[in-house]
Protein backbone atom coordinates (compact mmCIF):
# COMPACT_ATOMS: atom_id res chain seq x y z
CA UNK A 1 0.00 0.00 0.00
CA UNK A 2 2.77 2.39 0.92
CA UNK A 3 4.45 2.01 -2.43
CA UNK A 4 1.13 2.51 -4.17
CA UNK A 5 0.54 5.67 -2.20
CA UNK A 6 4.04 6.78 -3.06
CA UNK A 7 3.53 6.16 -6.76
CA UNK A 8 0.28 8.07 -6.60
CA UNK A 9 2.01 11.07 -5.07
CA UNK A 10 4.68 10.95 -7.78
CA UNK A 11 1.92 11.21 -10.37
CA UNK A 12 0.32 14.08 -8.49
CA UNK A 13 3.67 15.80 -8.07
CA UNK A 14 4.39 15.67 -11.80
CA UNK A 15 1.07 17.28 -12.64
CA UNK A 16 1.33 19.92 -9.92
CA UNK A 17 4.99 20.48 -10.77
CA UNK A 18 4.06 21.25 -14.37
CA UNK A 19 1.82 24.10 -13.17
CA UNK A 20 4.41 25.42 -10.71
CA UNK A 21 7.03 25.33 -13.46
CA UNK A 22 4.92 27.30 -15.92
CA UNK A 23 4.25 29.83 -13.20
CA UNK A 24 7.88 30.00 -12.06
CA UNK A 25 9.11 30.42 -15.65
CA UNK A 26 7.41 33.81 -15.82
CA UNK A 27 8.97 34.85 -12.52
CA UNK A 28 12.39 33.82 -13.81
CA UNK A 29 12.06 35.52 -17.19
CA UNK A 30 11.05 38.85 -15.71
CA UNK A 31 13.70 38.56 -13.02
CA UNK A 32 16.38 37.96 -15.64
CA UNK A 33 15.73 41.28 -17.38
CA UNK A 34 14.42 43.38 -14.49
CA UNK A 35 16.66 42.06 -11.74
CA UNK A 36 13.60 42.27 -9.51
CA UNK A 37 10.88 39.82 -8.52
CA UNK A 38 7.55 40.79 -9.99
CA UNK A 39 5.34 39.99 -7.02
CA UNK A 40 2.24 40.82 -9.07
CA UNK A 41 2.92 37.68 -11.11
CA UNK A 42 0.58 35.62 -8.90
CA UNK A 43 -2.22 38.15 -9.48
CA UNK A 44 -1.72 37.76 -13.24
CA UNK A 45 -1.99 33.99 -12.69
CA UNK A 46 -5.31 34.50 -10.89
CA UNK A 47 -6.62 36.77 -13.66
CA UNK A 48 -5.65 34.13 -16.20
CA UNK A 49 -7.77 31.60 -14.32
CA UNK A 50 -10.77 33.96 -14.26
CA UNK A 51 -10.37 34.87 -17.94
CA UNK A 52 -10.33 31.18 -18.81
CA UNK A 53 -13.36 30.59 -16.63
CA UNK A 54 -15.53 33.36 -18.07
CA UNK A 55 -14.56 32.31 -21.60
CA UNK A 56 -16.34 29.03 -20.82
CA UNK A 57 -19.12 30.10 -18.43
CA UNK A 58 -20.07 33.57 -19.72
CA UNK A 59 -18.98 33.72 -23.36
CA UNK A 60 -19.90 30.03 -23.78
CA UNK A 61 -16.87 29.14 -25.86
CA UNK A 62 -15.35 25.66 -25.76
CA UNK A 63 -12.65 24.93 -23.16
CA UNK A 64 -10.01 24.67 -25.86
CA UNK A 65 -10.41 28.40 -26.52
CA UNK A 66 -10.15 29.26 -22.83
CA UNK A 67 -6.40 28.59 -23.00
CA UNK A 68 -5.50 31.11 -25.74
CA UNK A 69 -7.90 33.69 -24.29
CA UNK A 70 -6.32 33.37 -20.85
CA UNK A 71 -2.81 33.52 -22.29
CA UNK A 72 -3.41 36.62 -24.39
CA UNK A 73 -5.46 38.33 -21.67
CA UNK A 74 -2.98 37.64 -18.89
CA UNK A 75 -0.10 38.57 -21.21
CA UNK A 76 -1.70 41.94 -21.91
CA UNK A 77 -2.29 42.53 -18.19
CA UNK A 78 1.41 41.87 -17.60
CA UNK A 79 2.41 44.28 -20.39
CA UNK A 80 0.11 46.93 -18.90
CA UNK A 81 1.84 46.35 -15.58
CA UNK A 82 5.20 46.99 -17.18
CA UNK A 83 4.00 50.16 -18.89
CA UNK A 84 2.13 51.64 -15.94
CA UNK A 85 4.17 50.44 -12.97
CA UNK A 86 7.74 49.48 -13.90
CA UNK A 87 8.54 51.67 -16.89
CA UNK A 88 8.05 55.01 -15.12
CA UNK A 89 10.42 53.79 -12.40
CA UNK A 90 13.05 52.65 -14.90
CA UNK A 91 12.89 56.06 -16.57
CA UNK A 92 13.82 57.64 -13.27
CA UNK A 93 16.48 55.03 -12.52
CA UNK A 94 14.60 54.15 -9.35
CA UNK A 95 16.28 51.62 -7.06
CA UNK A 96 15.22 48.00 -7.30
CA UNK A 97 13.45 48.10 -3.96
CA UNK A 98 10.98 50.64 -5.41
CA UNK A 99 10.22 48.25 -8.24
CA UNK A 100 9.66 45.43 -5.78
CA UNK A 101 7.29 47.58 -3.73
CA UNK A 102 5.39 48.76 -6.79
CA UNK A 103 4.86 45.12 -7.76
CA UNK A 104 3.31 44.42 -4.34
CA UNK A 105 0.99 47.39 -4.83
CA UNK A 106 0.08 46.26 -8.32
CA UNK A 107 -0.69 42.80 -6.96
CA UNK A 108 -3.05 44.21 -4.32
CA UNK A 109 -4.77 46.32 -6.97
CA UNK A 110 -5.26 43.38 -9.32
CA UNK A 111 -6.64 41.20 -6.51
CA UNK A 112 -9.04 43.96 -5.42
CA UNK A 113 -10.24 44.49 -8.99
CA UNK A 114 -10.94 40.80 -9.21
CA UNK A 115 -12.89 40.82 -5.92
CA UNK A 116 -14.92 43.74 -7.24
CA UNK A 117 -15.64 41.96 -10.51
CA UNK A 118 -16.09 38.36 -9.46
CA UNK A 119 -16.88 38.51 -5.74
CA UNK A 120 -15.17 36.39 -3.12
CA UNK A 121 -17.10 33.13 -3.48
CA UNK A 122 -15.23 30.37 -5.27
CA UNK A 123 -16.20 30.01 -8.92
CA UNK A 124 -16.08 26.73 -10.78
CA UNK A 125 -15.88 25.36 -14.26
CA UNK A 126 -18.98 23.29 -15.15
CA UNK A 127 -18.47 19.89 -13.49
CA UNK A 128 -18.94 18.03 -16.74
CA UNK A 129 -16.37 20.09 -18.63
CA UNK A 130 -13.87 17.23 -18.54
CA UNK A 131 -14.41 13.65 -17.39
CA UNK A 132 -13.10 13.67 -13.84
CA UNK A 133 -12.79 9.91 -13.43
CA UNK A 134 -9.45 8.14 -13.46
CA UNK A 135 -8.12 6.76 -16.69
CA UNK A 136 -8.68 2.99 -16.56
CA UNK A 137 -6.05 0.27 -16.64
CA UNK A 138 -3.23 2.06 -14.82
CA UNK A 139 -1.66 1.09 -11.48
CA UNK A 140 -2.33 4.59 -10.16
CA UNK A 141 -5.07 7.16 -10.38
CA UNK A 142 -4.54 9.73 -13.10
CA UNK A 143 -7.24 11.98 -14.49
CA UNK A 144 -7.59 13.48 -17.94
CA UNK A 145 -6.98 16.91 -16.42
CA UNK A 146 -3.61 15.81 -15.08
CA UNK A 147 -2.64 14.50 -18.49
CA UNK A 148 -3.73 17.73 -20.17
CA UNK A 149 -1.78 19.75 -17.62
CA UNK A 150 1.40 17.83 -18.21
CA UNK A 151 1.17 17.79 -22.01
CA UNK A 152 0.31 21.50 -22.23
CA UNK A 153 3.15 22.42 -19.90
CA UNK A 154 5.69 20.29 -21.76
CA UNK A 155 4.69 21.75 -25.12
CA UNK A 156 4.98 25.29 -23.78
CA UNK A 157 8.35 24.59 -22.19
CA UNK A 158 9.72 23.21 -25.44
CA UNK A 159 8.36 26.20 -27.37
CA UNK A 160 9.81 28.62 -24.85
CA UNK A 161 13.18 26.91 -25.07
CA UNK A 162 13.15 27.21 -28.86
CA UNK A 163 12.10 30.84 -28.59
CA UNK A 164 14.88 31.76 -26.20
CA UNK A 165 17.68 29.79 -27.80
CA UNK A 166 16.84 29.78 -31.50
CA UNK A 167 14.96 32.94 -32.45
CA UNK A 168 15.90 36.53 -33.05
CA UNK A 169 13.59 37.65 -30.23
CA UNK A 170 15.18 35.16 -27.85
CA UNK A 171 18.63 36.36 -28.83
CA UNK A 172 17.61 39.94 -28.03
CA UNK A 173 16.06 38.85 -24.74
CA UNK A 174 19.29 37.16 -23.70
CA UNK A 175 21.28 40.25 -24.71
CA UNK A 176 19.00 42.50 -22.64
CA UNK A 177 19.23 40.11 -19.68
CA UNK A 178 23.02 40.31 -19.91
CA UNK A 179 23.33 44.08 -20.22
CA UNK A 180 20.74 46.62 -21.36
CA UNK A 181 23.21 49.25 -22.55
CA UNK A 182 25.15 46.77 -24.62
CA UNK A 183 21.94 45.40 -26.11
CA UNK A 184 20.80 48.89 -27.11
CA UNK A 185 24.18 49.58 -28.74
CA UNK A 186 23.58 46.46 -30.84
CA UNK A 187 20.31 47.91 -32.09
CA UNK A 188 17.96 46.12 -29.69
CA UNK A 189 14.91 48.15 -28.68
CA UNK A 190 15.14 47.46 -24.96
CA UNK A 191 11.65 48.72 -24.09
CA UNK A 192 10.21 46.43 -26.75
CA UNK A 193 12.06 43.47 -25.25
CA UNK A 194 10.70 44.32 -21.81
CA UNK A 195 7.17 44.36 -23.21
CA UNK A 196 7.69 41.04 -25.04
CA UNK A 197 9.15 39.41 -21.94
CA UNK A 198 6.30 40.61 -19.73
CA UNK A 199 3.80 39.35 -22.31
CA UNK A 200 5.31 35.87 -22.46
CA UNK A 201 5.66 35.69 -18.67
CA UNK A 202 2.05 36.81 -18.25
CA UNK A 203 0.80 34.35 -20.85
CA UNK A 204 2.54 31.48 -19.06
CA UNK A 205 1.06 32.59 -15.73
CA UNK A 206 -2.36 32.88 -17.36
CA UNK A 207 -2.41 29.36 -18.72
CA UNK A 208 -0.97 28.06 -15.45
CA UNK A 209 -3.94 29.73 -13.75
CA UNK A 210 -6.45 27.97 -16.01
CA UNK A 211 -4.73 24.62 -15.47
CA UNK A 212 -4.66 25.16 -11.70
CA UNK A 213 -8.32 26.18 -11.75
CA UNK A 214 -9.22 23.06 -13.70
CA UNK A 215 -7.22 20.83 -11.38
CA UNK A 216 -8.78 22.07 -8.14
CA UNK A 217 -11.93 23.50 -9.70
CA UNK A 218 -12.03 26.43 -7.38
CA UNK A 219 -11.22 29.90 -8.66
CA UNK A 220 -10.86 32.75 -6.21
CA UNK A 221 -9.35 36.24 -6.17
CA UNK A 222 -6.88 34.97 -3.55
CA UNK A 223 -5.82 31.84 -5.39
CA UNK A 224 -2.54 33.50 -6.39
CA UNK A 225 -1.37 33.36 -2.78
CA UNK A 226 -1.28 29.57 -2.99
CA UNK A 227 1.30 29.60 -5.77
CA UNK A 228 3.16 32.86 -5.15
CA UNK A 229 5.55 31.47 -2.57
CA UNK A 230 5.76 28.07 -4.26
CA UNK A 231 6.91 29.79 -7.43
CA UNK A 232 9.36 31.90 -5.46
CA UNK A 233 10.76 28.78 -3.81
CA UNK A 234 10.98 27.15 -7.22
CA UNK A 235 13.19 29.86 -8.69
CA UNK A 236 15.32 30.12 -5.56
CA UNK A 237 15.76 26.36 -5.77
CA UNK A 238 16.59 26.44 -9.47
CA UNK A 239 18.56 29.69 -9.67
CA UNK A 240 16.84 33.08 -9.86
CA UNK A 241 16.98 34.07 -13.51
CA UNK A 242 17.48 30.61 -14.98
CA UNK A 243 14.88 29.12 -17.29
CA UNK A 244 15.83 25.45 -16.86
CA UNK A 245 16.21 26.22 -13.16
CA UNK A 246 12.60 27.39 -12.94
CA UNK A 247 11.37 24.12 -14.45
CA UNK A 248 13.59 22.04 -12.20
CA UNK A 249 12.53 24.12 -9.19
CA UNK A 250 8.84 23.86 -10.05
CA UNK A 251 8.94 20.08 -10.17
CA UNK A 252 11.21 20.02 -7.11
CA UNK A 253 8.79 22.03 -4.98
CA UNK A 254 5.82 19.94 -6.10
CA UNK A 255 7.81 16.80 -5.35
CA UNK A 256 8.64 17.97 -1.83
CA UNK A 257 5.07 18.99 -1.21
CA UNK A 258 3.62 15.67 -2.37
CA UNK A 259 6.33 13.67 -0.66
CA UNK A 260 5.44 15.21 2.69
CA UNK A 261 1.82 14.25 2.02
CA UNK A 262 2.92 10.70 1.20
CA UNK A 263 4.80 10.25 4.45
CA UNK A 264 1.70 11.39 6.30
CA UNK A 265 2.55 15.01 6.94
CA UNK A 266 -0.20 16.57 4.87
CA UNK A 267 -0.54 19.43 7.35
CA UNK A 268 3.15 20.17 7.12
CA UNK A 269 3.57 20.21 3.35
CA UNK A 270 3.93 23.99 3.12
CA UNK A 271 6.23 24.02 6.12
CA UNK A 272 8.51 21.51 4.38
CA UNK A 273 8.61 23.61 1.21
CA UNK A 274 9.49 26.78 3.09
CA UNK A 275 12.05 25.02 5.23
CA UNK A 276 13.77 24.08 1.98
CA UNK A 277 13.51 27.69 0.78
CA UNK A 278 15.13 28.81 4.02
CA UNK A 279 17.92 26.23 3.84
CA UNK A 280 18.53 26.96 0.20
CA UNK A 281 18.95 30.70 0.80
CA UNK A 282 21.30 29.87 3.62
CA UNK A 283 23.46 27.27 1.93
CA UNK A 284 23.27 27.82 -1.82
CA UNK A 285 21.61 31.14 -2.64
CA UNK A 286 22.62 30.91 -6.32
CA UNK A 287 20.31 27.90 -6.71
CA UNK A 288 20.93 24.32 -7.79
CA UNK A 289 22.07 25.24 -11.29
CA UNK A 290 22.29 28.99 -10.88
CA UNK A 291 25.41 30.95 -11.61
CA UNK A 292 26.75 34.26 -10.48
CA UNK A 293 24.39 37.17 -10.98
CA UNK A 294 26.44 38.63 -13.81
CA UNK A 295 25.99 35.62 -16.03
CA UNK A 296 22.32 34.92 -15.52
CA UNK A 297 20.34 34.59 -18.70
Amino acid sequence: MISNEFLQQVVNAISLGAIYSLFALGYAMVFSILGVLNLAHSAVFMWGAFLGLITVTEIKLPLLLAFPVAMVGAGLIAVALDFLAFRPLRRRNAPRISQLIVSIGASALLVSLSQLTFGTDPRRFPFDILPSGAIQGLPFRVTLIQVIVLITALILMVLLNILVLRTRLGQAMRAVAFNQRTASLLGVNVSGIFASTFFIAGALAGIAGVLYGLTYNSILPFMGDQVALKGLTAIVLGGMGSIPGAVLGGFGVAGLERFSVAVGGSDYRDAVVFLILFLMLLVRPQGLIGQKEQTRA
Binding site: R168, Q171, A172, R174, A175, F178, N179, R181, T182, S184, L185, L186, G187, V188, N189, V190, Q294, T295, A297
Partner: protein, 234 residues
Protein backbone atom coordinates in the same frame (compact mmCIF):
# COMPACT_ATOMS: atom_id res chain seq x y z
CA UNK B 1 29.76 65.78 -43.36
CA UNK B 2 29.36 62.42 -41.64
CA UNK B 3 29.18 63.43 -37.99
CA UNK B 4 29.04 66.82 -36.34
CA UNK B 5 28.69 67.79 -32.70
CA UNK B 6 27.59 71.36 -32.11
CA UNK B 7 28.25 72.84 -28.65
CA UNK B 8 27.24 69.62 -26.87
CA UNK B 9 26.96 69.72 -23.09
CA UNK B 10 26.05 66.63 -21.11
CA UNK B 11 26.56 64.97 -17.78
CA UNK B 12 25.32 62.62 -15.13
CA UNK B 13 22.65 64.05 -12.85
CA UNK B 14 23.84 67.38 -11.51
CA UNK B 15 27.42 66.86 -12.64
CA UNK B 16 28.23 68.23 -16.07
CA UNK B 17 31.02 66.27 -17.75
CA UNK B 18 31.01 68.00 -21.15
CA UNK B 19 30.80 71.78 -21.33
CA UNK B 20 29.85 72.49 -24.92
CA UNK B 21 32.15 70.64 -27.31
CA UNK B 22 32.10 70.79 -31.10
CA UNK B 23 33.76 68.25 -33.34
CA UNK B 24 33.32 66.65 -36.71
CA UNK B 25 34.20 63.54 -38.65
CA UNK B 26 34.31 63.64 -42.45
CA UNK B 27 33.74 60.68 -44.73
CA UNK B 28 36.76 58.43 -45.05
CA UNK B 29 38.49 59.99 -42.04
CA UNK B 30 39.95 58.54 -38.87
CA UNK B 31 39.50 61.01 -36.03
CA UNK B 32 41.05 60.48 -32.62
CA UNK B 33 39.76 61.86 -29.37
CA UNK B 34 42.49 61.82 -26.75
CA UNK B 35 42.75 63.03 -23.21
CA UNK B 36 43.29 61.98 -19.63
CA UNK B 37 41.02 59.82 -17.53
CA UNK B 38 37.79 61.66 -16.77
CA UNK B 39 38.25 64.25 -19.50
CA UNK B 40 34.88 63.32 -21.01
CA UNK B 41 35.93 61.03 -23.86
CA UNK B 42 33.51 58.19 -23.10
CA UNK B 43 30.76 60.67 -22.28
CA UNK B 44 31.21 62.13 -25.76
CA UNK B 45 30.78 58.72 -27.39
CA UNK B 46 27.79 57.91 -25.20
CA UNK B 47 26.09 61.16 -26.17
CA UNK B 48 26.65 60.37 -29.84
CA UNK B 49 25.29 56.84 -29.33
CA UNK B 50 22.21 58.10 -27.51
CA UNK B 51 23.02 56.46 -24.17
CA UNK B 52 23.16 59.94 -22.61
CA UNK B 53 20.89 62.76 -23.77
CA UNK B 54 22.69 66.05 -24.42
CA UNK B 55 21.68 68.81 -22.02
CA UNK B 56 22.50 71.46 -24.65
CA UNK B 57 23.70 71.44 -28.22
CA UNK B 58 23.03 68.96 -30.97
CA UNK B 59 24.44 65.89 -32.71
CA UNK B 60 24.13 65.61 -36.49
CA UNK B 61 24.72 62.39 -38.42
CA UNK B 62 24.69 62.73 -42.20
CA UNK B 63 23.22 66.22 -41.64
CA UNK B 64 20.28 64.84 -39.66
CA UNK B 65 19.74 66.03 -36.08
CA UNK B 66 19.79 62.84 -33.99
CA UNK B 67 19.95 64.45 -30.53
CA UNK B 68 17.49 62.71 -28.24
CA UNK B 69 17.13 59.59 -30.40
CA UNK B 70 17.19 56.19 -28.67
CA UNK B 71 20.45 54.23 -28.78
CA UNK B 72 18.99 51.40 -30.88
CA UNK B 73 17.67 53.89 -33.46
CA UNK B 74 21.05 55.59 -33.71
CA UNK B 75 22.80 52.24 -34.07
CA UNK B 76 20.40 51.35 -36.87
CA UNK B 77 21.63 54.39 -38.80
CA UNK B 78 25.08 52.82 -38.95
CA UNK B 79 26.61 54.82 -36.11
CA UNK B 80 28.18 51.91 -34.25
CA UNK B 81 30.02 51.98 -30.94
CA UNK B 82 32.36 49.35 -29.53
CA UNK B 83 31.99 50.24 -25.86
CA UNK B 84 34.72 50.44 -23.28
CA UNK B 85 35.48 47.10 -21.67
CA UNK B 86 34.37 45.26 -24.83
CA UNK B 87 31.00 44.11 -23.46
CA UNK B 88 30.71 40.88 -25.37
CA UNK B 89 27.78 38.76 -24.18
CA UNK B 90 29.70 36.29 -22.03
CA UNK B 91 26.84 33.77 -21.90
CA UNK B 92 26.63 33.49 -25.69
CA UNK B 93 29.01 31.77 -28.07
CA UNK B 94 31.35 33.68 -30.36
CA UNK B 95 29.09 32.96 -33.31
CA UNK B 96 25.95 34.05 -31.42
CA UNK B 97 27.68 37.31 -30.52
CA UNK B 98 28.54 37.92 -34.16
CA UNK B 99 25.03 37.16 -35.36
CA UNK B 100 23.72 39.52 -32.69
CA UNK B 101 25.69 42.20 -34.53
CA UNK B 102 23.41 41.57 -37.50
CA UNK B 103 20.30 41.85 -35.30
CA UNK B 104 18.89 44.77 -37.28
CA UNK B 105 19.73 43.39 -40.69
CA UNK B 106 17.40 41.42 -42.98
CA UNK B 107 19.80 40.54 -45.82
CA UNK B 108 20.43 36.93 -44.74
CA UNK B 109 22.80 36.05 -47.55
CA UNK B 110 25.11 39.00 -47.02
CA UNK B 111 25.10 38.40 -43.27
CA UNK B 112 26.64 34.99 -43.94
CA UNK B 113 29.35 36.38 -46.19
CA UNK B 114 30.04 39.21 -43.72
CA UNK B 115 30.53 36.62 -41.01
CA UNK B 116 32.99 34.77 -43.24
CA UNK B 117 34.74 38.10 -43.72
CA UNK B 118 35.04 38.60 -39.95
CA UNK B 119 36.41 35.07 -39.54
CA UNK B 120 38.92 35.78 -42.29
CA UNK B 121 40.02 38.93 -40.51
CA UNK B 122 40.14 37.18 -37.13
CA UNK B 123 41.07 33.51 -37.65
CA UNK B 124 41.23 33.07 -33.88
CA UNK B 125 37.51 33.78 -33.62
CA UNK B 126 36.80 31.11 -36.20
CA UNK B 127 38.68 28.55 -34.15
CA UNK B 128 36.60 29.49 -31.13
CA UNK B 129 33.29 30.07 -32.86
CA UNK B 130 31.30 27.70 -30.63
CA UNK B 131 32.99 28.68 -27.38
CA UNK B 132 31.27 30.96 -24.89
CA UNK B 133 32.53 34.55 -25.28
CA UNK B 134 33.18 34.69 -21.54
CA UNK B 135 35.92 32.07 -21.92
CA UNK B 136 37.97 34.17 -24.37
CA UNK B 137 41.07 36.14 -23.41
CA UNK B 138 40.89 39.93 -23.22
CA UNK B 139 42.46 40.34 -26.64
CA UNK B 140 40.12 37.81 -28.22
CA UNK B 141 37.14 39.52 -26.62
CA UNK B 142 38.26 42.82 -28.12
CA UNK B 143 38.50 41.15 -31.53
CA UNK B 144 35.02 39.74 -31.03
CA UNK B 145 33.67 43.16 -30.05
CA UNK B 146 35.20 44.70 -33.18
CA UNK B 147 34.01 41.80 -35.34
CA UNK B 148 30.51 42.14 -33.94
CA UNK B 149 30.56 45.85 -34.76
CA UNK B 150 31.67 45.10 -38.33
CA UNK B 151 28.65 42.78 -38.64
CA UNK B 152 26.56 45.94 -38.21
CA UNK B 153 28.07 47.39 -41.42
CA UNK B 154 29.05 50.65 -39.70
CA UNK B 155 29.00 53.94 -41.60
CA UNK B 156 31.06 55.26 -38.71
CA UNK B 157 32.83 52.99 -36.24
CA UNK B 158 33.39 54.43 -32.78
CA UNK B 159 35.95 52.64 -30.62
CA UNK B 160 36.16 53.39 -26.90
CA UNK B 161 39.60 52.60 -25.47
CA UNK B 162 40.17 49.46 -27.55
CA UNK B 163 43.64 48.91 -26.10
CA UNK B 164 42.60 49.22 -22.47
CA UNK B 165 43.82 46.42 -20.24
CA UNK B 166 45.68 44.58 -22.98
CA UNK B 167 49.30 43.45 -22.95
CA UNK B 168 51.67 45.56 -25.12
CA UNK B 169 51.93 42.89 -27.81
CA UNK B 170 48.14 42.73 -28.09
CA UNK B 171 47.90 46.51 -28.14
CA UNK B 172 50.02 46.49 -31.29
CA UNK B 173 47.79 43.83 -32.80
CA UNK B 174 44.62 45.78 -32.03
CA UNK B 175 46.09 48.88 -33.67
CA UNK B 176 47.06 46.82 -36.72
CA UNK B 177 43.43 45.72 -36.93
CA UNK B 178 42.14 49.28 -36.62
CA UNK B 179 44.57 50.31 -39.35
CA UNK B 180 43.26 47.55 -41.60
CA UNK B 181 39.67 48.69 -41.01
CA UNK B 182 40.74 52.23 -41.85
CA UNK B 183 42.31 51.03 -45.07
CA UNK B 184 39.13 49.22 -46.04
CA UNK B 185 37.47 52.66 -46.06
CA UNK B 186 35.38 52.65 -42.88
CA UNK B 187 35.53 56.00 -41.06
CA UNK B 188 36.56 55.70 -37.41
CA UNK B 189 36.18 57.85 -34.33
CA UNK B 190 38.78 56.53 -31.93
CA UNK B 191 38.84 57.32 -28.22
CA UNK B 192 42.19 56.44 -26.68
CA UNK B 193 44.44 57.12 -23.73
CA UNK B 194 47.38 55.86 -25.73
CA UNK B 195 47.84 59.22 -27.45
CA UNK B 196 50.97 58.27 -29.35
CA UNK B 197 49.33 55.38 -31.16
CA UNK B 198 46.05 57.19 -31.62
CA UNK B 199 47.78 60.16 -33.27
CA UNK B 200 49.90 57.91 -35.48
CA UNK B 201 46.74 56.39 -36.94
CA UNK B 202 44.47 59.41 -37.22
CA UNK B 203 43.96 62.05 -39.89
CA UNK B 204 42.59 64.57 -37.42
CA UNK B 205 42.50 64.73 -33.63
CA UNK B 206 40.88 66.49 -30.71
CA UNK B 207 42.36 66.77 -27.24
CA UNK B 208 39.79 66.86 -24.43
CA UNK B 209 40.64 68.40 -21.09
CA UNK B 210 38.06 68.52 -18.29
CA UNK B 211 35.08 68.52 -20.64
CA UNK B 212 36.31 71.08 -23.18
CA UNK B 213 38.36 70.72 -26.34
CA UNK B 214 41.79 72.09 -25.51
CA UNK B 215 43.50 71.46 -28.84
CA UNK B 216 42.49 70.22 -32.25
CA UNK B 217 44.21 69.87 -35.56
CA UNK B 218 45.68 67.51 -38.11
CA UNK B 219 47.16 64.54 -36.28
CA UNK B 220 50.48 65.24 -37.98
CA UNK B 221 50.57 68.78 -36.58
CA UNK B 222 49.46 67.80 -33.08
CA UNK B 223 52.30 65.29 -32.90
CA UNK B 224 54.71 68.19 -33.28
CA UNK B 225 52.89 70.64 -31.01
CA UNK B 226 55.14 71.22 -27.96
CA UNK B 227 52.19 71.55 -25.56
CA UNK B 228 50.65 68.28 -26.73
CA UNK B 229 54.04 66.59 -26.57
CA UNK B 230 54.60 67.81 -23.04
CA UNK B 231 51.18 66.78 -21.79
CA UNK B 232 50.42 63.59 -23.71
CA UNK B 233 53.43 62.28 -25.55
CA UNK B 234 56.22 62.98 -23.06
Amino acid sequence: MLLRLDQVAAGYGAIEALHGISLKVERGQVVSLIGANGAGKSTTLNVISGLIKPARGAVYFEDRDISGWRADQITALGLVQVPEGRQVIATMTVEENLSLGAYRRRDRRQIGSDMDGVYERFPRLKERRSQKAGSLSGGEQQMLAVGRALMMRPKLLMLDEPSMGLAPLLVNEIFRIINAIKNSGTPILLVEQNARKALALADYAYVLERGVIAYEGKALDLRQDPKVIAAYLG
